[in-house]
């Protein structure tokens, strides 16, 4: 008697050819597109101290270079520089953080970054970040136009050790000018996992227009919202991977693949386009 064995394989996620075009060619509201896997964004042979914006025509009409960031606090080599790992321009390259590393805006703060936190500026935005969470999560401020003090004007995106994320804004006057928007454990981040995350808000319509999408092309509203303060004080710095005073930097072994900023609250169609494009760019499955 003969019999045959049919191998049963788990269906694999097939990723198409790599696409390294800037995100602005599919979502016009792109302000900056910083990516560790693109040689136009980071090439240590050209400039080992700068992470460059590849969006040639930022949606806020600023110059492309207005959104270049220094590795660390300045353009010199320092222990606060994230370490680029992998081949320049390779899909699997990344910046590794050691618990004290971040990126600081190279030039003067742009109008959009100064006013991101204000309801009076009618500044809608969505921040995107592609990363691998470390084995041990810790409190980290992964984007900041404000420092860690309660009343410093600006906003801060925060990762909590339990995997929750939230952001707060402050108008620079009182602690009551601070709000929290929290993703209350509906999708807490897991250690040692790759994520593509988009978080946005229209600060003039905070109660009705927010989005959070984690490894998904379907956005959800944030759990809790509050009134954005109307204070007129501008933010004075922008840092990726820490707050604006370089406090609470991303934890050791965090891997940053890219940071992306748009001047609108992205809808599901645009979230889907971006998720597909970054899947091809990074050759990585960002499905949950």
């Amino acid at each position: 008697m003969s019999f045959s064995i049919h191998a049963h394989r788990t269906p694999s996620f097939k990723i198409g050819p790599r696409n390294t075009n800037p995100l602005g060619d599919i979502v016009a509201s792109c302000i900056f597109d910083l990516d560790a896997t693109l040689s136009d964004s980071f090439d240590s042979g050209v400039d080992a101290q700068k992470w460059k914006n590849v969006e040639t025509t930022p949606a806020d009409s600023e110059a492309q270079t207005a959104y270049d960031f220094d590795l660390g606090a300045d353009s010199g080599a320092s222990t606060d520089d994230p370490t680029h790992v992998g081949t320049i321009g390779a899909a699997d390259a990344y910046f590794e953080h050691d618990g004290g590393d971040f990126f600081d805006l190279n030039g003067a703060l742009t109008t959009a970054l100064k006013t991101l936190h204000k309801s009076s500026s009618n500044q809608a935005f969505t921040l995107g970040i592609a990363f691998r969470a470390p084995a041990t999560l810790a409190t980290a401020h992964f984007f900041g136009t404000a420092d860690g003090a309660t009343n410093d004007p600006g906003l801060i995106f925060v990762l909590q050790p339990d995997g929750d994320i939230w952001f707060r804004t402050s108008d620079g006057s009182t602690r009551t000018g601070m709000i929290f928007m929290k993703n209350d454990g509906t999708f807490p981040l897991q250690p040692s996992t790759n994520y593509l995350m988009f978080m946005g808000a229209d600060t003039a319509n905070i109660g009705s227009s927010t989005v959070i999408a984690i490894n998904s092309s379907t956005g959800a509203a944030w759990d809790n919202t509050d009134t954005i303060p109307t204070g007129s004080t501008d933010a004075d710095a922008c840092v990726l991977g820490a707050n604006s005073a370089f406090g609470a930097p991303l934890p050791n072994q965090w891997r940053t693949y890219g940071f992306y900023l748009f001047n609108e609250v992205l809808n599901d169609t645009k979230l889907g386009l971006l998720k597909d494009r970054l899947t091809l760019r990074h050759q990585r499955n960002y499905n949950a």
Partner: protein, 86 residues
């Protein structure tokens, strides 16, 4: 590979100057601090064992050489950010 380096605050100024001279890399203004407030720590992918041995030649630093510690394997416990976190 990232190497974590700790040094006593008592030789901080001297250590920073010597570190920059040997490695070409500046130590950041706000390193992590030990919970007892007596030491600093940074991570570096540029600092080599050769750099570290050269660093310890300096007279003032040599006196505290045993207090300069490195760790290539793991992020040491018990270090805190002194910048306000809310």
């Amino acid at each position: 590979m990232t190497q974590f380096i700790t040094w006593p605050k008592t030789i901080d100024t001297k250590f920073r100057a010597a570190y920059l001279a040997k490695t070409g890399e500046k130590i950041q203004d706000t390193p992590l601090e030990s919970e007892d407030g007596l030491s600093y720590m940074v991570g570096s992918s540029r600092c080599t064992d050769q750099h570290l041995s050269e660093l310890k030649v300096d007279t003032e630093i040599t006196a505290k050489a045993d207090d300069i510690k490195t760790n290539k394997d793991a992020y040491p416990d018990g270090w805190v950010q002194k910048v306000v976190v809310i």
